[in-house]
Symmetry: C2
Subunit: 332 residues, 2 copies
Amino acid sequence: MVKMSDVALKANVSTATVSRVLHSPETVKEQTRQKVLNAIKELNYQPNILARQLRKNETKTILVVVPNIMNTVFLGIIEGIEAEASKNQYKVLLGNTNNDVKKEYGLIDLLKQKQTDGMILFSARLEEDILHELSEQYPIVLTADFIDGLKVPTVSIDNISSSRKAVLHLISLGHTRIAHISGPLSNSSARDRFKGYEQALYQHSMEVGSMLVQEGDYSLESGYNQMRKLLALEKMPTAVFAANDEMAIGAIKAAKEHGLNIPQDLAIVGFDNIHFSSIFEPRLTTIAQPLFKMGQLSMKLLLAQINGSVSEKTQYILESELIIRDSCGGKE
Amino acid sequence: MVKMSDVALKANVSTATVSRVLHSPETVKEQTRQKVLNAIKELNYQPNILARQLRKNETKTILVVVPNIMNTVFLGIIEGIEAEASKNQYKVLLGNTNNDVKKEYGLIDLLKQKQTDGMILFSARLEEDILHELSEQYPIVLTADFIDGLKVPTVSIDNISSSRKAVLHLISLGHTRIAHISGPLSNSSARDRFKGYEQALYQHSMEVGSMLVQEGDYSLESGYNQMRKLLALEKMPTAVFAANDEMAIGAIKAAKEHGLNIPQDLAIVGFDNIHFSSIFEPRLTTIAQPLFKMGQLSMKLLLAQINGSVSEKTQYILESELIIRDSCGGKE
DNA sequence: ATGAAAGCGCTAACAC
DNA sequence: GTGTTAGCGCTTTCAT
């Protein structure tokens, strides 16, 4: 391993000068600089970043904590994070918790041990106090998930208004018996999507029938199963809003099996705009989150914190978009 | 930041002893160890890993270079890598190249700068010489892709025999006019899948008609477009083998639009067994790669290299599996 | 414009 | 069983 002192020796200068050539070349006389540059080239010198990091106490690395790598929604955000990070010469460390809170705590040690300069969390399942405390000591951003009043910089969409928008769309198409297949209600986003559903109904003085709301777990199977419950109802709904696309697809499968035509007999709206929502038949009407942008913004906010600026605004809400396709009959 | 010397002071021992308590507690007298442990707890000491890394010249971090984060096939492998890595207290750094070879070269610097202990590549698009040279200097494993004769440890399936298996399945169902929608032939896996197709036909003394082979680019759209070409043929194929599921789905869409029923009028086999292949209608018959296992094995091989063992066998071929579903009519 | 030297926090060889 | 001490390779202050 050729090191800085080797370069210094070869160029007949001190290591300080080599270091200067690397970081503030303008402070070094042209001639000296050339000598050093040549030596670097000849020796094929690669600085040892570890040493620099120790000296400067920074790693140029951030940690992304994901509950589940295989979730394409998270991946869209990670893509944005990665793009912004590499633009700023930051690396991203991937921490997959597999929905295991213990693993989450383990990953936090990376922060404490100064192995990463900051952390982006995809879910707020740590105890709130701990999260607050951490956030005071280290740069942290929460994305995709949202907790009201949480004093941790957060990037998300407004799940309530987004799902309200989805349900209002159904109402505008004339539906009056609208069911909801929710996500797991232990999850704050799932609760918010449920709230949006309620708000849309209230707004039109419709009742929220308890039978019309079934709790799923975001899996296709749960969409299928909950839909079957809805299909067994005496008064079947004419439309259903599913809290994510996977469940919407599961619901459609159940409805088709039941002999129903989508959207003629039953309208369905999903949430997330996953890749397959436009491939599946019927193509799904759904809510799209600006995933890449969310990732970018999260990373920007994290960098701002790392660089010492304390921003006032802690919760950033990005706009979602209702994508109208075929699963609820379009605008007639 | 409380450091080791603080702990040493508090416990009335030397830093060496503190270090020992942390790494080989059995060499320290019970009583002393307790003193140190207490001091650590009281001061809430977190070791500075950066310093340790500098000293030991290891990072306990490996780099994964992916052409495209959003590809679920790669993700399945990453999941396996991550699991094995964290089991061994290794962290994984994510490098997304977005199919940009320049970015790939950039990421290699992380290796050279000792910022990661090793690297797992998902595609062999670097020049072979460079790859070899790197592989001699640093721990490297190639996965998902395969280049014949490459002297870099590789984990993959046998694309040739896998696709031969797929096509033989079609032949066993009585098909004699079997078309192939290939991946981009600049890609070695795509070439291998093509070869397997040829071999299956040769094996049954069938001709490989040039019109029956269309080159796609692994995208759904290309599957759709190439299928339309096949549908326009005078003598239409009765079966098609697509080099991946996305193209298979595109092909099915084109066929359906053309008024064909799958599998009655046309049998289709895909490759990859992506999540959606079992959801789409008809459910896709396809080849499944053992992604998680591939990831695990890749990481194991990398760790072996990092820990200095030089294994003989450089190319590891795992078994793929033909998953028979509905898109080609099952075994009749 | 350049060099000398201290030190980032830790580990490990050596000494006792 | 424990302490002393010399670095790991770099950055940066201070002096010249």
